[in-house]
């Protein structure tokens, strides 16, 4: 730098400072980005790298004998083979899929419906309703599950009490297939508010001239909602849909919290429960790491495919 400055003739010379600025400017962005990069590397890249490293390692007996010591060693792709051929892991993915098929459309459908209702011109108590629908989202997942769990258990459930008083048999919220709906209901209760806010925000961003034009053309509120609002908020729908899919594949705290209450939820009911079991109950960190890598890779791939598909349809003319 100093050399460059020393060689710089009088200030009137234009090109040289420009070159000096380009030198500095190549460094400045990095300095601004450095904290983010540092955190990204320390808390994301290194742990992911370490996970991948762990996924190739396992405990194997050394020295022989009935009480031979288990020592951590390199075992190649054994963990991956075990994860991919594990019937419980695959069955867990299947259960998540059933849950997702029930939960995702109902959450997004209700969220869209509420957002559209809140956006109609003559709605009353708008901010109250918005807050009321949003509040369950602020309840932590474990608390929500416990709360619903008590509503589901035959002896403690007021729903069951009423059903019994009316002469109906005890309702089994934890049986099959009711269990999937009981779990989806928890997601519905806590997830609608958040998704509604995203869609609603997107609705508010639509310029009102479009509505005026539609009204002049004779469209009623229902037609405006269906023909104008829904297509215009489709990017928000794609976004919330993607969040929901990822959230579904990472389903953990609801079934894990409800598990002690019922016999129908096994300790490996969803993939993440299986991973937890391997890591912390069976002392198989390598196996858990391999299953995590498989799951994370699967989610990434699935999300990319989904995003690609919808991007072409929603933002087709833009790209």
């Amino acid at each position: 730098m100093t050399v460059t400055v020393a060689r710089t003739p009088p200030l009137t010379d234009r090109p040289k400072p420009a070159r000096r600025r380009s030198h500095r400017s190549s460094l400045v962005p990095w300095m601004f980005a450095a904290p983010a990069i540092l955190f990204f590397v320390v808390f994301l890249i290194i742990p992911i790298g370490y996970s991948i490293y762990l996924s190739f390692r396992g405990f194997r007996v050394e020295g022989g004998g009935a009480f031979g010591r288990r020592v951590e060693t390199w075992i190649g792709f054994d963990n991956y083979a075990a994860a991919l051929t594990d019937p419980e892991f695959v069955a867990g993915l299947g259960r998540v899929l059933i849950y997702g098929v029930i939960a995702i459309p109902s959450v997004l459908g209700l969220a869209l419906l509420f957002a559209l209702l809140l956006d109609t011109p003559r709605v009353r108590a708008r901010s109250f309703s918005r807050t009321a629908i949003f509040i369950p989202y602020a309840v932590p997942g474990v608390i929500a599950s416990l709360l619903w769990g008590f509503l589901y258990l035959p002896s403690t459930s007021p729903v069951n009490f009423i059903a019994r008083e009316l002469g109906a048999g005890p309702l089994d919220f934890f049986g099959y297939p009711a269990l999937y709906f009981s779990l989806a209901n928890i997601a519905l209760w806590s997830g609608v508010g958040f998704n509604m806010i995203i869609i609603y925000t997107s609705l508010r961003a639509i310029p009102s001239e479009i509505y005026e034009a539609a009204r002049i053309d004779g469209a009623n509120e229902l037609q405006i909602a269906w023909r104008i609002k829904v297509p215009l908020v489709s990017p928000a729908l794609v976004l919330t849909g993607l969040f929901s899919v990822i959230g579904t594949l990472q389903l953990y705290s609801e079934p894990a919290t409800l598990r002690p209450m019922t016999t129908t939820i096994s300790s490996t009911w969803v993939p993440l429960m299986k991973i937890y079991q391997e890591a912390f109950m069976n002392d198989n960190l390598g196996g858990a790491a391999a299953a995590s890598v498989v799951l994370a890779g699967g989610i990434l791939l699935f999300s990319l495919v989904l995003l690609r598909f919808f991007q072409r349809r929603t933002f087709g003319e833009n790209s």
Partner: protein, 451 residues
Amino acid sequence: MSIAQAQGLNARSGIRPRRALTIGGIVATAALAFMLSGCSSAAESSSDGPVTLEFWTYSLKGGDPAAEAIIDTYEKANPGVTIKLSEVGGTAETSSKLLAADRANETPDVVQVEYRALPSLVVAGVVKDITADVADSKDAVDENVWELTTLNEQVYGVPQDIGPMMFTYRADLFEQYGAKVPTTWAEYAEAAAVIRAADPTAYIASFSATQFEFFAAHAAQAGAEWWTNDGESWTVGIDSEESLATADYWQDLVDRDLVIVEPLLTPEWNAQVNSGKILSWAAASWVPSVIYSVAPDTAGKWESAPLPQWTPGDAAVSFQGGSTFLVPEKSKNAKAAAEFAAWLGASDEGSELLLSLDIYPGGNAGREATLTADPPKLMPQQTDFYAVADQVITDTTIPVTWGPNVNVAQTALGDALNAAALNKESFRDVYKATQATVVEDLETQGYTVSE
């Protein structure tokens, strides 16, 4: 006595946005943190200076006056020793935390776990062989209790409490319904039918597929050995004919709707125990204090008897539950730690004091003290409770060996048995499948398994 608890991993799930931080990431971050913290811990010498023993226990709770009194007694008698109590969860949680702590070189000094967790910790190289340190305590503990912590002729722990197997039941309702208190498992099935006939909403007990230790003990009573070793190789007997006979027994009761399929200690189970719809629990001497904690209003209506016999006239049983104090391999104060463990578990003073925690001491002095103690709060009227329990201990002649992969068996059996009970499938097949899983896991890890 481990009770499955809601695992509080803070991952939010369901239809919510979230950071793409999988459990794998958490595992790795935690492991990394351990690695980093491990680097900074220099080896401290265990000289004669003041030592602080970190004690992981779920029986001695900080803030509990009885536990504080025990610690005070020891600290007064041993100036310079400070005991720091910390509760890290039940046996499963304690075991996994101990494994993590060992890999981070940050272990506590004394750890309480249930006997069944000991082999898996020993093969992980986490537990110190304290045979020489506690040799003097051997005479203060009965042979069949001391054996619980001896693997391959090496001692890995000092027994804290034991679980002589007992049948705890609602004496008032058994009498009211005309059910005979069972002395054999055949009579148990008869009593179950009598109770169902007398009150169609009541059951003799719940069938909880997750009470792995009970099934192991029941199979042992019938003559099966789930894990045995000859020092070189393992033999797994979960699918032995004796073991399968107990599976058939429970299948029959479930099929005939004589027991209700329901996990233990859920809000549902607690409500049914309180309202007199679940009438008994066959397990061990720690049952009364557990029932008292969830149904204190029913105190005075319960009694305990020896466990029903599998073969009439044969009173032999094994222990169910109970726990031991172990010293981690990497403890920096191992000598002081072993001394403390021996004092608390085996000395006259220590084992008598354990009785104040409402647990059944493993040491001889504690056992003798029970005979003059008041019965548990759940059955103040049953003055011979401890006499009955003491007889059961004398009858406890079946040694149980746990294998190095008990957790694998526990998960496999619990999940499959639950599914089989719901779908009316064969329990026998579940035991056979569990056998296959356990053998395969042992072989994968590199152990020799003989037929």
